[in-house]
Symmetry: C2
Subunit: 319 residues, 2 copies
């Protein structure tokens, strides 16, 4: 019911009389007043003026599903959303939902994570209301080998969305790090659940530092706000744009394969054309990063001239 | 307590006086009598003779963890077992346990499955007390790409165990079917849970027709009993041997890689050296199956002379 009231207020941009709202939703004036109080308690700035009615002045800085869904206009992604104030990790909840047949496109959003996950059991700092932390369930009809290309797809989508919303250019360090001017601003995590010849589902995790100021950032990290002349961003708008961008790229990927995503990825790549070291467990491999292949693997030309396919490890840029 | 009583009876091969057992386990004669009744109800054939005591004549044809664990002598595999009379699918329970950090080597055994799983959502018929149906959780330190080699590893282990227990020769059809004289006797299913560059865990599912007579077998299927001159097999003994064989091969794989497993696999392979078709979704590929590679992929030489790496699909033997 509160979502319906919000919907009416959002659409009008004007004062709407309590009588009209009550009549439209078939509730009493008293019930309406109670709902308005609850919305105010949730952070909605709603003014009430006698003889004019109610007006929505501002929505709170929260990634409420009703806010994210409003004018989202996607087909699948975000049709189902789970929202949490604080969570261990959105990945774990999404993984569980994936096991329970949650539909493709399901989002798990949390305002904070106490055990935010990075690659290889590393931690991802997720301070409350500062960033965007969500996991997305996809059920692509691909082989497990091709799953890494989804990491690239989401990375490109985030770059495109951020560019559109605030004009800031993000660069991608293979496989999953998002950088602005050599400082880390976000990352993509991909978890796979598969038979040997069929993906059952993947969980894509996306974490972005959005409105963090320098006090909530570790060394080497940055936020979009810091890179946007300290102007805070509307997190709802950015999340919507990311979701739209992922959906567009994902539909294209299903229809035409990875070509378009790879072309875009190359343009944002921080890693290509550089001399790099790849560290994996105790091994390392050195050479020039020449390209990515259709499954998202990095192609590395060693000094002996051999091209090696790299699917795992940490990349260190040399020099 | 019942396991402890069984243990005493098993070890003695003789009558053991109730007084001795009670004293040893520090329980009353009355309590002992009650436990013995419960064991009889579970199918244990225990005779009680005045002045002599109790003697275990026979154990029931059940895959009880206490039976499987008795003289199993493995280091990890089977240290933790879950046993069910009937289950939807051992895969689903093992998957859930894997998510909950169940240790490597955990077994989920069921006497029957109502929704036994084959590859690609196919069904695996699992009539009660006839076969061996279990899932095994492994946590190998390998890349997701290498997981298919575990399918081959388990297939080879089953071949070795069956050969040892009843002398019957099993052949393997890539990737996961077990055949005797061109009839299907079992299969291996591998489910993967991974990040892009680290396997979190795999669930290996093994289903074998053991004591099925022709009435409980579909066309094209056979059982070990049918191929063993209709002599029924001791399922506990066979399961123990399979578990031991998997552990030995898995330890070797971790230490020295897949070489030994692949060598054995080639000897049992029904597919190699033959002209085959591989069907995947609506595509198909034809040629000669020449080998498997170190990640468990099938190498197919097409008529154009190209060697293609096949990681998915159904193999049809031509001619």
């Amino acid at each position: 019911m509160q979502d319906k009231i919000l919907d009416i207020l959002r659409r009008s941009h004007q004062y709407v009389s309590g009588e009209d709202i009550s009549a439209h939703l078939n509730i009493s004036r008293q019930a309406l007043w109670k709902h308005i109080q609850n919305l105010k308690d949730s952070g909605y700035d709603i003014v009430a003026v006698p003889h004019l009615g109610y007006r929505l002045i501002a929505s709170p800085d929260r990634l409420f599903p009703s806010e994210v869904a409003y004018r989202l206009h996607t087909k699948n992604i975000g049709k189902k959303m789970y929202y949490f104030d604080t969570l261990g990790s959105t990945m774990d909840v999404a993984e569980e939902l994936g096991q329970k047949q949650a539909p493709e496109g399901t989002l798990v959003i949390s305002e904070a994570q106490t055990k935010g996950k990075g690659r290889l059991n590393r931690e991802w700092s997720s301070p409350k209301y500062k960033g965007i932390y969500f996991s997305l369930i996809l059920r692509p009809k691909i082989l497990p080998n091709s799953a890494p290309v989804l990491t690239l797809l989401c990375a490109v989508s985030v770059c495109e969305a951020v560019k559109k919303v605030c004009g800031v250019e993000i660069k991608i360090k293979w496989p999953n790090d998002l950088f602005i001017r050599h400082k880390k601003v976000g990352g993509i995590l991909t978890e796979l659940n598969a038979e040997m010849d069929a993906v059952r589902f993947v969980v894509m995790g996306i974490g972005i530092n959005v409105n963090n100021d320098t006090t909530t950032l570790v060394e080497g990290a940055t936020s979009l706000r810091e890179q946007n002349n300290k102007v805070p961003l509307n997190r709802v708008e950015l999340l919507q744009e990311i979701v739209r961008s992922i959906e567009a790229r994902y539909l294209l990927f299903q229809k035409e394969g990875a070509v378009s995503t790879l072309t875009q990825w190359r343009q944002h790549a921080l890693t290509l054309g550089r001399r790099i070291k790849v560290l994996y467990h105790k091994e390392h491999l050195e050479g020039e990063a020449v390209d990515v292949d259709g499954d998202g693997a990095l192609l590395l030309r060693t000094d002996a001239g051999l091209v090696r396919r790299v699917t795992a490890g940490d990349v260190v840029h040399c020099r």
